[in-house]
């Protein structure tokens, strides 16, 4: 039953679901169990995307100030994918991510303080200072990283899904990866395994058109990724990754189907990173005009405009939202600055399990 849907379909669904919503902000963050939006839903999506955007903008400053180091990959421009997909996931589901995972982690509910402290390499970081920007983990939230080997997390995701499948659980495992990862053998091995064993896996390809400096057309003989994924015998859809409502709708539809036991699904989110590949990248391979064009489709602006046109948002609410978000990030930075360093005496911890832990 492989099919590809355009983002228009997703948008139509999302729009159709909007009737019945009340005006004004609420704290509700998720859709109702049947997937219908609750009041304040759009605002909550906007807030989540804004939190990621502001968090990463702060990372740029902190990086320039040498407060944080290492490879730092930002997802600015791609927030709608992280937020839209996570919206469709439940607490019991699992997420496997990449090195460009601040957005995935935050959208999954990993606290900003724990992520920021990790960037600072502090003891309170979500990986106790051993991971850094590329290796965020939160076992309690079933957030399994944080993998800097392109496509390296995909087989893990298949295994998590296999564990659920073998125990008859209806939990979903979601893995994020890029268009570059699609060229790795591990993508194809995982797609084959997942389809062969009908694993409850949602494969989300964030197609931002580039693998570092190599454009899609220079890395793939066939650039229709959904079509190739469908060839493994799994439903494969393409969605506008700049439209959070479209992503959410497509992800809900996909996760529902995965949960219903229909095996793995593939979702290609067509998106774009507004910034360079990493903080080290002079970004010489993309035309300024191309970047500007995509910035015109900023997912935050898009949702904000829709909300304004429907009277859900005005300058005052926007200012409030921004203030709240920035205050949280200030707090996270302050916390990280003050957090203790992981002691060097503990260098050799966590290489093997500590006494007392059992298999």
């Amino acid at each position: 039953m492989s099919s590809t849907t355009s983002h228009h379909e997703g948008k139509a669904r999302a729009t159709a679901r909007k009737s019945g919503r009340k005006k004004g902000p609420t704290t509700a963050a998720r859709g109702t169990p049947d997937g219908l939006p609750v009041p304040g839903h759009h605002l909550s999506l906007l807030r989540r995307m804004l939190a990621i955007r502001r968090f990463e903008e702060r990372c740029v400053e902190l990086y320039s100030g040498a407060k944080i180091r290492g490879f730092v990959h930002l997802c600015i421009g791609e927030e709608a994918v992280a937020v839209g997909v996570n919206q469709a996931l439940r607490e019991e589901d699992a997420v496997v991510s990449t090195y460009r995972e601040h957005g995935h982690a935050l959208a999954r509910g990993v606290p900003a303080d724990a992520v920021m402290a990790e960037m600072y390499g502090r003891a309170t970081g979500c990986s106790r200072g051993r991971g850094g920007s590329m290796h965020l983990f939160d076992a309690a939230r079933r957030f399994y990283g944080g993998n800097a080997i392109v496509a390296g997390g995909l087989p893990l995701a298949a295994g998590l899904a296999l564990a659920d499948r073998m125990r008859g659980s209806t939990r979903v495992t979601c893995c994020f990866f890029g268009d570059g990862a699609f060229a790795e053998g591990e993508f194809h091995e995982t797609a084959n395994l997942a389809a062969l064993w009908q694993l409850p896996l949602l494969m989300v390809c964030e197609n931002n058109l580039y693998a570092m400096g190599t454009s899609l057309a220079r890395e793939h003989a066939q650039t229709n990724l959904a079509m190739r994924a469908a060839s493994y015998g799994m439903p494969a859809w393409t969605v506008d990754g700049m439209d959070v409502l479209a992503v959410e709708a497509a992800a809900l539809r996909a996760t529902e189907s995965v949960r219903a036991g229909n095996g793995p699904h593939f979702l290609e989110a067509q998106t774009y990173r507004f910034r360079a590949h990493s903080m080290y990248d002079p970004d010489r391979y993309r035309a300024k005009s191309e970047i500007e064009e995509w910035k015109g489709r900023d997912p935050l602006k898009g949702l904000a405009e829709l909300m304004r046109s429907e009277g859900q948002l005005d300058d005052r609410v926007m200012e409030e939202l921004d203030k709240e978000v920035l205050a949280e990030i200030d707090e996270a930075v302050r916390g990280a600055e003050e957090a203790p360093l992981e002691p060097v005496a503990d260098l050799l911890r966590f290489v093997t399990s500590e006494p007392g832990s059992t298999a």
């Binding site: 979500c126 080997i149 087989p155 295994g159 998590l160 296999l162 125990r167 591990e186 395994l193 093997t352």
Partner: protein, 334 residues
């Protein structure tokens, strides 16, 4: 096997292959989370026959045939371990494990540390290693020493039927990743299984033969050769102690050094290539820890530094043999 004892009321004859199968079967019976996964482990019965009959007994869900996707299914084993299962992943040979090296090193061995202690990976990965069956270079290499280089995993090399029988249970009880290397030349080896033993530990090396003149330190497929050499040497009046490392990571230095304190001479037998080998590591540790105990330079018997050749005489010449071990011992005691 040379350690073979006459069957008594407390021991029974078996092969290394059967001992492995018994260990697997017991693990599958005792814990529902355990499952076996790998190429041809099910219908075919395992490419070395280790899992023969298990599919019929446990079904295709738990004796799971995989496609030829070493990276994919090893990674899936790691993921299933993260997800609460106790997978035993079989890779046909260490040569093919290189296609999964990324998953083993960058994920299995690394996730616990990188996650600040949050994610332990209780996966067991079994594979065949070693030469001696004229299979040519791509089926004959001994790369377990490379894996022994990696912090975060345990590396085992059962050389006896008792270890083949019981190491799996101990490996499954370890919350961290364990790699088990089975030497291809041992599967048909017969030994006598000690029925008074129902568990083995993974932390200590074993003295398989006591001696006073030289310590022959070895593991896995080279153990029978070392024991054969010791037998020959005994006929010449040289008393060789044979130490079976059993675990290649972490290494049990204490047993090795204690043996050298008794014999004052060391010969290391390792089927891998000499340069940068486990034998080099052990030699170095002896120099660091037992230098003043030594009466002679440490000797190493390793494979010739060639891709292991096919032709019988070339292959035999490339590998450690009882005769080359005897020669090395003679050099140290003369």
């Amino acid at each position: 096997m040379s350690t073979r004892k006459a069957p008594t009321g407390t021991s029974r004859p078996t092969t290394y292959r059967e001992a492995l199968r018994e260990g697997l079967r017991e693990a599958l019976l005792q814990d529902e989370r355990v499952f076996l996964m790998g190429e041809d482990v099910g219908r075919y019965g395992g490419c070395f026959g280790v899992s023969l009959g298990l599919l019929e007994e446990f079904g295709p869900d738990r004796i799971r045939d995989t496609p030829l996707s070493e990276s994919g299914f090893v990674g899936a084993g790691i993921g299933a371990a993260l997800g609460g299962m106790r997978p035993v992943v079989e890779i046909m040979t260490v040569n093919f494990s290189l296609l999964a090296l990324d998953q083993i090193l960058n994920n299995a061995a690394t996730l616990l540390h990188m996650s600040g202690g949050q994610l332990s990976v209780p996966v067991v990965i079994r594979m065949t290693t070693g030469a001696g069956r004229q299979l040519g270079a791509q089926h004959s290499h001994s790369l377990e020493g490379w894996y022994a280089h990696i912090p975060g995993i345990r590396v085992l090399a059962p050389a006896t039927v008792d270890d083949a029988r019981h190491m799996l249970a101990a490996a499954l009880a370890d919350p961290d990743p364990v790699l088990i290397f089975e030497h291809g030349g041992l599967y048909n080896a017969e030994g006598s299984l000690d029925e008074t033993v129902d568990a083995v530990d993974l932390d200590t090396a074993a003295v398989r033969r006591s001696g006073t003149d030289v310590s022959v330190i070895t593991y896995g497929g080279s153990l029978p050769k070392a024991l054969a050499a010791a037998e020959t040497l005994a006929g010449e009046g040289v008393s060789a102690e044979v130490v079976d490392l059993r675990a290649l990571r972490p290494l049990d230095d204490a047993t090795v050094m204690a043996s050298i304190a008794r014999t004052h001479r060391a010969v290391i037998v390792d089927e891998a290539w000499r340069s940068g080998s486990l034998a080099a590591e052990i030699s170095s540790r002896i120099t660091e820890q037992a230098f003043y105990e030594l009466d002679a330079p440490v000797q190493r018997v390793c494979s010739a530094e060639v891709p292991i050749p096919y032709a019988r005489q070339l292959e035999e010449a490339a590998l450690p043999q009882p005769a080359t071990i005897v020669d090395a011992v003679r050099r140290t005691v003369s």
